[in-house]
């Protein structure tokens, strides 16, 4: 009931957000230097040819009219054709989004439990060596950009010291048939998001472990394991879920650099290629996809927050 209302409201807000994003995306592609017709025809195109292609692409129509045409196609699922390969955009990005989702899903599935455990473990060893080491390590990792971490990983595990994993992805076969290529990109993404979640989990757990109901549970003779798993952790998950949500949403953006670095055939690399080739329809579709992902992940985080907090889940009797 309360949850249904929340989901409904957030979905409505999400739709508005996507509408605003679509305006921005469309506006930004108007401002991009160069024009799509020239990008299609190349530098040596004659003015006559350019005019014809412009007319075909409705480039001479007023901007609002072009926006409406684009947006209504978008809503009906028609993402248009790539201006480079002339193939439908949807076919181009379907495989790529699958690859990216795979990468993000594995990164999230590794990073979330790892950082929750590490954060709790660190909180339980408050002010001991292990705690300080965790705090320092996560701070260092959090302040390094992904490409530095990625390059370091490539150097250590792929090209330099150890040659355990391939540094780049082979384009000739599907990603799933070469699982070892996933290791380094996943590791880079995990190292990018896990420090924040770990630090947040540590701070929240410290607060919860110092709360009256944890003291009371101990005074009631509840074994330490139950104090931790049945009283402390459930009360810490809610606030941390928000940070996990933000970090997973961040993955969707952070993936651009990482995919580029490892030549991983996902939407991030797709964006880079689309920008280089002035492939506006593909670019627009990819950005809308990432925006939708943001909205969904944040909604999911709110839902987890509500589910772990009875005060929000149930009304006051």
């Amino acid at each position: 009931m309360a949850l249904g209302r929340l989901v409904g409201r957030r979905l409505a807000v999400g739709t508005v957000i996507l509408f605003v994003v679509s305006l921005l995306v469309f506006g930004a592609s108007l401002l991009l230097p160069g024009d799509a017709a020239r990008a299609v025809l190349g530098r040596s195109a004659s003015p006559d040819r350019l005019a014809v292609v412009r007319a075909q692409m409705h480039l001479d129509d007023p901007a609002p009219q072009r926006y409406l045409a684009w947006a209504s196609d978008l809503v009906t699922g028609d993402l248009g054709n790539s201006t480079v390969s002339q193939e439908p955009v949807i076919e181009l990005i379907a495989g790529r989004s699958g690859n990216s989702l795979l990468l993000m899903a594995i990164a999230a599935l590794v990073a979330t439990p790892l950082s929750l455990l590490l954060g709790s473990w660190s909180a339980l060893r408050r002010d001991q060596l292990a705690d300080h080491a965790t705090a320092l390590g996560t701070l260092v990792l959090a302040s390094l950009p992904e490409f530095v971490v990625g390059i370091a990983l490539i150097y250590v595990f792929a090209t330099g010291l150890l040659q355990w994993f391939p540094p780049v992805v082979s384009t000739t076969m599907p990603v799933l048939e070469q699982p070892s290529v996933l290791v380094l990109p996943v590791a880079t993404l995990v190292l990018a998001v896990a420090p924040y979640i770990t630090r947040m989990m540590r701070a929240t757990m410290l607060e919860v472990l110092d709360s009256d109901f944890v003291h009371q549970a101990r005074l009631n003779g509840i074994p330490e394991r139950s104090v931790l798993w049945r009283h402390a952790v459930p009360n810490a998950i809610g606030p941390v879920a928000q940070v996990i949500g933000l970090q997973l949403a961040y993955l969707a953006g952070g993936i651009v650099l990482v995919e580029f670095l490892f030549a991983y055939p996902g939407i991030g690399q797709g964006i880079v290629e689309a920008v280089n080739a002035r492939d506006i329809p593909t670019l627009q579709a990819l950005i809308m996809l990432i925006a939708a992902f943001y909205v969904l992940v944040n909604l999911l985080a709110d839902v987890v927050g509500v589910l772990t907090n009875p005060r929000l889940r149930t009304g006051v009797a």
């Binding site: 709360s211 009256d212 109901f213 003291h215 009371q216 549970a217 101990r218 005074l219 009631n220 003779g221 509840i222 074994p223 139950s226 049945r230 009283h231 459930p234 009360n235 772990t308 907090n309 009875p310 005060r311 149930t314 006051v316 009797a317």
Partner: protein
């Protein structure tokens, strides 16, 4: 006394063991650095009786309470002494053995039930969990049945629906009864109750006290009732121990301790407790209790004691018998006089024209209506008390009068002049004429400003005083609230709660207001400090011809400060009468209920 295996499962009704009660000998808890927080604490609680442990903040009473469960706050440790229960010394048990005892043979009822219950777990489950982890009874069915029984014992609904609720769906009184149900669920031999009624209204408090008394007798268990409130302790305890600066200074049967105290501190403490019957004048204790590490080598009360002689400073006196069952730690115990019962001249409110007039005032927060068309006159130069429980709307009324709450209808007038609701719409003169002292001195002073800055600010903003003149008047004002002028350079965190509240009073009075609104100004303070502050406010009322609106939930305090009382219930004034008439001839059922349920020290 038989030795009990703490890890053995409990039988269904282990009353058998409760005969021994509790003996504490020479208990010492110290910081990691070896500074004693409490030391030399001896306590005896026979089974089926309640020992009250009274002490002001910082006396170490909670430290003693948790030590009886073999626990301490972070940074402290039990350094010596013995805690004997059922023939076993808890201080010799291992952590694992202790865990078996906690919640099963010894249990703890916390001060604040709103934070002591897990907000994410259903209350029935929280009772069940304690039974489960101590292997209570013969099996799951017996435990499920015990949960229902435990709710019944504390007067909570026993239908399954109640057990499925979360803590936030219960009232404060219900939450505390859940905590008590958890504590008594396993038939413990000892229950430690740490200020269990402090946050509750008096009517709820009396319900909780009745429950505790009944269960202690029914279960035949020993109970230690910790509180700062001697009046509450005296209604429930068979015997009382008084804790001062980490050691027990007096121990006696309740009646005897209250009527014939043999330690000067106890005597002063009794005098500081507001008397519901209004027969005693309220007197505070000057100074403050020494903190651990700064305690004098001799008697710890010596610096504040009016009976002190040179010898008192020469070593901690022993706790010695002074009468039957009566121990005191004072070399002059024979000279301690009982709290004076002298006839107070009840001051009758003058029939002056009202300074403040409230007519048909309604206030709301959004859609929730809090005050429903109430009217009130506050005569010039008197103190009018606004008495009500939490949620009665007393603070909203005070805030509306002070211009802090604008969502209201009706009329307010001060000295015949109509007052707008928001303080921003009031003139500078009216803003200076009404001053407000907030409940919590820990949050009402800006921690980044010096005391002098805070106190001087109203004078600067409202009266435009600057420079040396400002400093002089701030210094004067600080002197008048019995803080010296050098407090001006200090920051709030260097001050005790009582000192902070005096700074707040100084800040309120410096702009020479005609009306002072005091919103529960003593509820965060110890009784000895409360009595000092009330005395101070009384002085100002006489000297400055100040008019006071004194908001409080404490009916005993009302009798000692106000000439007229308006009793507030659910946003309406149900009774408004001169103080003496209200106490001798209460008209409204609610007033009578308050008078009956409020614990009083001298019965």
């Amino acid at each position: 006394m038989s030795v009990v295996d703490p890890t053995a499962p409990l039988s269904d009704h282990p009353r058998r063991m409760n005969a021994g009660g509790l003996q504490v000998r020479g208990l010492r808890v110290e910081t990691r650095a070896g500074v004693a927080v409490v030391d030399g604490v001896d306590l005896d609680v026979p089974a089926g009786t309640v020992l009250g442990l009274v002490g002001e903040s910082g006396s170490g009473k909670t430290t003693v309470g948790t030590a009886l469960l073999g626990g301490t706050r972070r940074g402290l440790r039990i350094a010596g002494g013995s805690v004997l229960l059922e023939g076993i010394d808890l201080t010799t048990l291992s952590e694992v053995e202790l865990r078996g005892w906690r919640g099963s043979r010894v249990s703890y009822v916390p001060q604040d039930p709103t934070t002591a219950l897990d907000p994410a777990m259903r209350v029935g489950k929280q009772v069940r969990e304690v039974l489960d982890c101590h292997d209570y009874g013969s099996g799951p069915d017996a435990r499920a049945q015990r949960v229902t029984e435990a709710f019944g014992e504390v007067g909570l609904p026993t239908d399954g629906e109640f057990a499925l609720r979360y803590p936030h769906q219960l009232s404060g009184g219900q939450q505390q009864r859940v905590c008590i149900a958890i504590a008594f669920a396993t038939w413990p031999a000892l229950v430690v109750l740490d200020e269990p009624t402090t946050g509750l209204d008096v009517t709820t408090q009396s319900l909780v006290l009745d429950t505790v008394r009944k269960l202690t007798q029914q279960h035949g268990c020993a109970a230690l009732y910790i509180s700062h409130d001697l009046a509450v302790v005296s209604t429930i305890s068979d015997e009382v121990a008084v804790l001062y600066a980490g050691s027990v200074v007096e121990r006696a049967p309740t009646e005897q301790l209250v009527h014939r105290p043999r330690h000067p501190y106890t005597s002063r403490l009794v005098a500081a407790v507001p008397d519901l019957a209004g027969r005693r004048a309220l007197t505070g204790i000057p100074g403050g209790a020494p903190s651990p590490g700064a305690r004098p080598p001799g008697c710890r009360f010596e610096p504040r004691c009016t009976l002190a002689v040179d010898e008192c400073a020469r070593g901690l006196p022993p706790l010695v018998p002074v009468a039957d069952d009566h121990l005191a730690r004072c070399i002059r115990s024979a000279d301690v006089s009982p709290a004076e019962v002298r006839d107070r001249d009840p001051e009758v409110g003058r029939a002056a024209d009202p300074l403040l007039r409230v007519e048909g005032l309604s206030a709301r927060y959004g859609k929730v209506s809090v005050l429903h068309g109430l009217s009130l006159d506050v005569p010039r130069g008197t103190c009018v008390a606004l008495l009500g429980e939490s949620g009665s709307g007393k603070t909203t009324l005070a805030r509306t009068i002070a211009g802090l709450h604008r969502d209201a209808e009706g009329t307010l007038s001060l000295a015949g002049e109509r007052l707008p609701f928001g303080s921003h719409e009031r003139t500078r003169q009216t803003r200076a004429a009404i001053a407000y002292v907030f409940q919590n001195p820990y949050s009402s002073l800006n921690p980044r400003r010096t005391v002098g800055d805070s106190v001087g600010r109203p004078l600067r903003v409202l009266r435009g005083v600057r420079g040396a003149e400002l400093d002089r008047r701030v210094g004067e004002m600080l002197d008048r609230v019995y803080l010296s002028s050098h407090y001006a350079q200090r920051y709030p965190d260097q001050l005790s709660g009582g000192e902070r509240q005096r700074v707040a009073v100084a800040r309120a009075l410096i702009s020479e207001p005609t009306l002072l609104v005091c919103d529960e100004i003593t509820s965060a303070l110890d009784v000895s400090v409360q009595a000092n502050l009330v005395g101070l406010i009384e002085e100002f009322r006489h000297e400055l011809d100040l008019t006071l609106l004194f908001v409080t939930h404490d009916i005993a305090l009302v009798r000692n400060v106000a000439q007229q009382v308006a009793v507030l219930q659910a946003g309406a004034i149900v009774e408004n009468a001169p103080t003496e008439r209200l106490f001798t001839d209460p008209q409204h059922a609610y007033t009578r209920e308050l008078l009956e349920t409020t614990p009083n020290l001298v019965s």
